[in-house]
Symmetry: C2
Subunit: 242 residues, 2 copies
């Protein structure tokens, strides 16, 4: 199964203090861009792969979704997600994305925020997601961008004039990357952008939108520290159609 | 018009000594991958955008293409291309890719090798290429990869253990890059990978294949100096369908 780093106490503690954990969707700078890829949520049946604290599940119901299924491997996160709502149309379930099964043609929208780069057998998972969507159903997701996941030792390098660069290596060497983020030994899967496109197509999807996310001028005006995110994209956002 | 750097004497002299100029297609490491994207050439009407010395034009005729039109902005390159063949079914023409016009629905294959990253008005050019292809016609091209074109000061950095990284900055800042390669002040246009996809779709193409090129194991065995090309992709290869 995928490394369940979110149930590591140190990681969970650190993650719980991030803006996106405290403020929810609005605490994630890429959320407006991801939201723009979503279909009309009214009456939609939604599955969220890697639902975490359940922010998107609750938001979906606020937008009129009929039913929402939130899946996550982390018991700690699901415990908090369950405690945050008593909505009978939101269901949370523990699931390992490597072995997940879902009922055929049962959802209008599959969503996943920053979870798929932890999955080893992504080809298998994409086939499961494709099968659980109705024809015309949409899959909207974000992952860490391949430029972000490629380096063996990821991090900014600052030159003597204060300029920042993001040194890349091993971009074309796909596979696990062991990094230290919030705790030691977090394992992510690096894939190229071309591989994400190829796997989606192989699973039967039609790719509708590819976005290498960066902050807008308005976001940088409000939070100047975001400007560095234009040096290299941290997130890859995609929308695909069954 | 696009900077005509190929008619700069210093650049032309340097370019003429590259493997791909001396040995032709086989001197370009990415050629086998690009060739694999081509349709059956038999009886095809072919246009080559940025034909250079005309290697691909002559190869196309060897593969059975019916007619080939080679376009380039460089008089020096076209002079040599013309001198290399007396085939009446190969036509060379000087053309500026910024203002190029082509007849409607007249070609089965449009091809371009490492030329489009010099073009400013790529949206316009893609519409022209789409219009000159017959329905079902294919556009196969390579460009310098966005990871390659992004940095303001491109180049490898070697650490004290002999490892090489390719520092990125300004990836999300699209527009001209002035670099020194063979001569000073070569101007290329940096675009993100998402922008290439978006512009192709906007011009009416269906994207069929996206490849972030790296050397094969066999190529590295034969030429160990190619191994570094796995650290970051130098070329982006694409195939699209009208």
């Amino acid at each position: 199964m995928t490394q369940n780093i979110y149930d590591n106490p140190e990681f969970f503690e650190g993650y719980s203090r991030l803006g996106r954990s405290v403020q929810g969707l609005e605490g994630a700078a890429e959320w407006p861009a991801l939201r723009a890829l979503l279909p009309d949520m009214h009456s939609a049946r939604v599955v969220d792969l890697g639902c975490g604290f359940g922010w998107f599940c609750r938001w979906s119901r606020d937008q009129g979704a009929a039913q929402v299924l939130g899946l996550d491997v982390s018991e700690r996160m699901l415990a908090r997600a369950c405690a945050e709502t008593s909505d009978p149309e939101i269901t949370f379930r523990q699931a390992d994305m490597e072995t997940l099964e879902l009922p055929a043609a049962s959802f209008d929208l599959a969503y996943s925020s920053l979870a798929l780069h932890y999955v080893d057998r992504l080809d298998r998972l994409l086939t499961v997601v494709h099968g659980t969507l109705v024809p015309g159903g949409r899959f909207v997701f974000s992952v860490e961008h391949p430029i972000y996941t490629a380096p063996r030792q990821p991090g900014w390098v600052t030159d003597d004039k204060g300029g920042s660069t993001w040194p890349i290596d091993a971009y074309l060497v796909e596979g696990p990357r062991r990094t230290d983020w919030l705790t030691k030994g977090v394992i992510k899967q690096h894939r190229t952008l071309a591989t994400y496109l190829r796997l989606l197509t192989a699973a039967g999807f039609t790719v509708q939108h590819v976005e290498e996310w960066g902050p807008t001028d308005e976001q940088i005006a409000a939070r100047p520290e975001l400007a560095i995110e234009r040096q290299r994209p941290a997130f890859l956002l995609m929308a695909a159609l069954r």
